[in-house]
């Protein structure tokens, strides 16, 4: 059964005005279809954001893992704006609304793209303006989606000094936009890297979904280091259910090309990361991550983003006898990375 996720704290869908001028108007209003989640009929696209009542699917991997391994991918691109960040964006905005931080202000956020896309979509529903600072090297597709959604995009160049990491540069730039005296408090910054609502989104939705969907049999959970909201929120939830569940984080190489992931030697560890929920960190370089993404397309028919390739590559390196039932996160789908994939396919053809 599907229920709208009012549990996540959104205000109820706008009710219709009750004053009908004529009997015909009243009849028309009464005959109008009402949202009915059991029929997957919704009043707003935001009601499609995943929640324990409307979870994203788990799909078993059948071909890319060693025999004997059982792993399921949680396909987060089934969220309406295309990634796991839909959950985060919803919780960030609701938290700000509750604390009275939104009133009349524009939003500014640093994001590798997915949080920006989800925030821009939710902001569009409310007629709010969003500025995103995005690390250089983000795929063109994401920049275009952000612009289509009406966001102002500040691409953070590599030479933005003295900060030498592009993703940290984007964070510093967003903070400067939010806090500059010249802007007189015009901007509010959700700050997904430090905002506990990011963790709460996964503690209250992603974690419980995984527990329910595996009937409590999950033994190993694998997700990437990014904002660290997923690994911290899901890890904390699962450890509270069963401290013996193993939580594995995936970390890319320095100077990687896996949007959304972070190498915590070159980038600052986000304030919301709770290392006490981590059992292992697996390093996956670009090459194996992209190779696995291609195998997922070709052998599992899963159109995934590059970070999913890194996460499944880490799963493939686990010892099946020790890892038991594994759940990995697939943060987003592959469409937004067509240009990245084209570049790699072209380079391989030239090399052949």
């Amino acid at each position: 059964m599907y229920i709208t996720n009012s549990a996540a704290g959104q205000p109820p869908a706008q009710t219709e005005p009750q004053q009908d001028r004529t009997a015909a108007e009243r009849r028309a209003r009464q005959e109008r279809l009402r949202p009915d989640a059991s029929r997957r009929r919704y009043g707003s696209v935001r009601d499609l954001i995943a929640s324990p009542q409307n979870p994203t699917p788990l799909v078993r991997l059948s071909r890319v893992l060693p025999s004997g391994a059982e792993a399921h991918l949680k396909l987060e691109w089934f969220n309406p704006f295309g990634s796991i960040k839909d959950r985060t964006a919803l919780y960030l905005l609701e938290g700000m609304r509750r604390r009275g931080e939104l009133g009349g202000r524009e939003l500014v956020e640093a994001t590798s793209g997915n949080t920006g896309i989800a925030l821009a979509a939710l902001a569009a529903l409310e007629g709010k303006k969003l500025t995103v600072t995005i690390p250089s090297g983000a795929p063109q597709e994401k920049l275009t989606l952000l612009r289509m959604l009406g966001a102002e995009v500040m691409a953070t160049p590599d030479d933005l000094c003295p900060v030498d990491n592009p993703s940290d540069g984007a964070i510093a730039l967003a903070r400067a936009v939010a806090e500059s005296p010249a802007h007189r408090g015009r901007y509010a910054m959700p700050n997904q890297y430090a905002n506990p609502d990011n963790v709460r989104a996964h503690y209250e939705t992603t974690g419980p979904e995984i527990w329910e969907q595996t009937e409590g049999r999950v033994r190993t959970f694998v997700a990437g280091f990014g904002t660290c909201g997923t690994i911290t929120g899901v890890g904390r939830f699962l450890k509270e259910r069963d401290p013996s569940i193993r939580v594995v984080a995936v970390e890319p190489q320095r100077g990687h090309h896996l949007p959304g992931l972070k190498n915590l030697q070159e980038a600052k560890a986000p304030a919301i990361l709770d290392r006490s929920v981590l059992d292992d960190v697996v390093r996956v370089d670009d090459g194996p991550a992209y190779a696995m993404a291609r195998r997922l397309f070709r052998e599992e028919a899963l159109i995934v983003g590059p970070s999913t390739g890194a996460i499944v590559e880490a799963i493939a390196r686990l010892e099946p006898a020790e890892s038991g039932l594994v759940v990995g996160i697939s943060p987003d789908g592959g469409h937004k990375y067509a240009s990245f994939y084209a570049e790699r396919l072209d380079a391989e053809e030239v090399a052949r």
Binding site: P157, L160, C161, A176, S180, P181, A182
Partner: protein
């Protein structure tokens, strides 16, 4: 985010030569780092080789940021001054910038 850029060469016509110190001017007063270098970097993209940009800032962090920007982008830092909490930089785009 609107940027306050002024083209000064035309406006300075007829003024004493020493006041015509830049081809464009960027007012970054009240902006925190790294916004001034971000905006300056974009303004420099629009300059032609040989043209100069004057930037006025109030975040002392800019005293470290602008020499670094000049180094990284191969710009000539013609001057860097601070007086009464206001920093003024002049940068010239020499090559491709």
């Amino acid at each position: 985010m609107s940027e306050r850029i002024t083209q000064t060469r035309g406006a300075a016509a007829g003024a004493p030569a020493e006041t015509s110190v830049a081809d464009a001017e960027l007012d970054c007063r009240g902006l925190l780092c790294p916004l001034p270098v971000y905006q300056a970097s974009r303004a420099i993209d629009r300059l032609l080789p040989g043209q100069a940009l004057r930037v006025v800032c109030t975040d002392p962090g800019s005293l470290a940021d602008f020499p670094a920007l000049a180094r990284q982008r191969g710009l000539a830092l013609l001057s860097a001054e601070e007086r009464d909490g206001v920093q003024v930089f002049r940068l010239r785009k020499d090559g491709d910038g």
